[in-house]
């Protein structure tokens, strides 16, 4: 695209517009080469939705003109002499409008947990504040759920109905316990029960999930594995467990986000993750855990008054 400007004296200035959806300082050299290959220098105008201060500085140093959608503009031409400099945003705008494609990331997880952990009806802003969640992300996650008719909002935008099991199942399509978290396997030679006993006295932050957690919430078959979120694998020493492959019965997970330690419940003296987190972890876990996840979903739907907080 070619853009024509006129100087105050009426002289025409022709600019070749080079549009980029994203321009980072590290891709600038490449852009400069591309322009040079086409014989372009100061007559090129680089446009992008947003140009960071660093990118703008480097463009200016290279003598390239630019403009972004937030109003940052610098056009500097020697012949005819022409110069404009305007300041726009110093930070990348929140891309609120950009639809979210997946519920995989930690931001979505925080938003989903906030939506599941509190009983509707609620408005988004107070929920975001209470749950320590980004409001924009909350809206984007909600848009996905609305698109799949998993949530009902009233005319004022408040969430009035949100069936947790449907939302958790949708989350589990994109989330995966073993990929989202950093996990290592250990052996407690005295059995899962011994590890659970030690957790009751644990001096560090943890939250039990997986089959052993499910067993404390909705009794199922005795767990062969204790799956525990911890902040660091140094917890292994405190628990007296040793790293093991074959025969391991304790899985420590350093979580994708601290949200796993938030809004936990206590059962039998042991800290257990919030039931929606428990269900999501089980649904995406190995072996018979998805079936246990189904049981947890049945339980949490029937017992919302036990675990779901009021905003």
């Amino acid at each position: 695209m070619i853009m024509m400007l006129r100087t105050p004296s009426g002289a025409p200035v022709q600019l070749i517009v080079e549009a980029k959806s994203l321009l980072r300082p590290d891709t600038l050299a490449q852009l400069e080469q591309q322009l040079a290959a086409r014989g372009l220098g100061s007559e090129a105008l680089v446009v992008a939705p947003y140009l960071s201060p660093a990118a703008r500085r480097q463009l200016a140093n290279r003598g390239l003109s630019f403009a972004d959608a937030t109003g940052n503009v610098r056009i500097a031409i020697d012949d005819p002499p022409f110069f404009i400099e305007l300041a726009g945003a110093e930070r990348a705008p929140q891309s609120d409008e950009q639809p979210l494609r997946s519920l995989k990331g930690r931001g979505s997880a925080r938003a989903l947990r906030a939506l599941c952990d509190f009983a509707p009806p609620f408005r988004l802003r107070p929920l975001a504040e209470r749950a320590g969640t980004n409001l924009a992300m909350l809206s984007r996650v909600l848009a996905i759920l609305e698109g799949e008719q998993l949530v009902t909002r009233d005319d004022a935008g408040s969430v009035v109905n949100l069936p947790v099991s449907g939302v958790v199942r949708r989350w589990a399509q994109d989330y995966e316990f073993g990929r989202a978290n950093t996990v290592r396997t250990f052996l407690d030679p005295r059995g899962v029960r011994s590890t659970l006993d030690k957790l009751r006295q644990a001096p560090f932050r943890y939250a039990l999930t997986g089959s052993a957690g499910a067993n404390l919430v909705a009794p199922i078959a005795p767990a062969r594995m204790a799956t525990v979120y911890v902040e660091s694998f140094t917890a292994a020493a405190a628990l007296g467990i040793r790293e093991a492959g074959s025969g391991s019965n304790v899985l420590l997970a350093v979580p994708f986000d601290d949200v796993v330690f938030e809004r936990t419940i206590v059962r039998d003296g042991i800290v257990v993750v919030s039931p929606p987190q428990l269900a999501a972890d089980l649904l995406t876990g190995p072996g018979r855990s998805p079936a246990e996840g189904d049981q947890v979903l049945t339980w949490l739907e029937a017992n919302t008054e036990v675990w779901r907080a009021r905003l």
Binding site: L187, P189, R190, G191, R193, A221, P222, R224, R242, A244, S246, G247, S248, N249
Partner: protein, 274 residues
Amino acid sequence: MIQMYVEARRTLLDALDALEPQLDSIVIVGAQAIYLHVGDADFGVAPFTTDGDLAMDPSLLTDEPSLIALMNAAGFVPGPLKGGAAQPGTWVNGAGIAIDLLVPASLGKRPGHRGADLGASHGSRAARNVAGLEGALVDKQRMAIPSLDGPDARVRHAFVAGPSGLLVSKFHKLGERSHNDPARLKDKDALDVYRLLREVPAAQLVSGFEALRHNAISEAATRDGLAYARQMFGSPTAAGVDMVVRALATTGEDPEFVRASAAALADDLFVEFD
């Protein structure tokens, strides 16, 4: 409560009552002693048969009253012939439930014989020599032994071998049979070892073994017992570990976990005594 446990406990209490005048010389050993320490450890496997095992300390046994007279008076008679030969030390009650009176082999006067020579009053058929029981006489504690039978309100106080003494004796039993008579190896004995290793705190086992190693009576038996243990439980695929896995085959315990666990627990003991 399974009726078999009730019967076994009743017979054990009957024997303790019968032997009351000699009770200071007696220590409960075997599966019933293990049960008193660790219960059935949630494995869902019958923890003991109906037999009761009592170890005798010859140095604390008085000449009178005679063990024979005491046992007979309580209705116990010498056990049935086994394989054509009489089995010294086995006594049975009217229901056919056995009590075995056992003497640590190194303390008997007739090493090499089955029957333990306990002097003129008791003879050489009241009790039998068993290798590796020495630790039970050193590591022992007095415990209350209640009846498991509703109407039977008896509670008797008697010495029970401690976990370390019991382990030494089990290590001997497994190790000796593995060498001399593999056909007589019983998976249940290896499971008893695993029960103790898993349920008794490691620090308690280690201090128990320390005490046994520093006592002249039990020193040699403990050293030999640990050597047997290394052969039977020295790795996740050792013979004793195989036996534990078989004993737990129907319980839902993960065999790979049992292997890793048994070897790790045994190793915790070995590293203390290398």
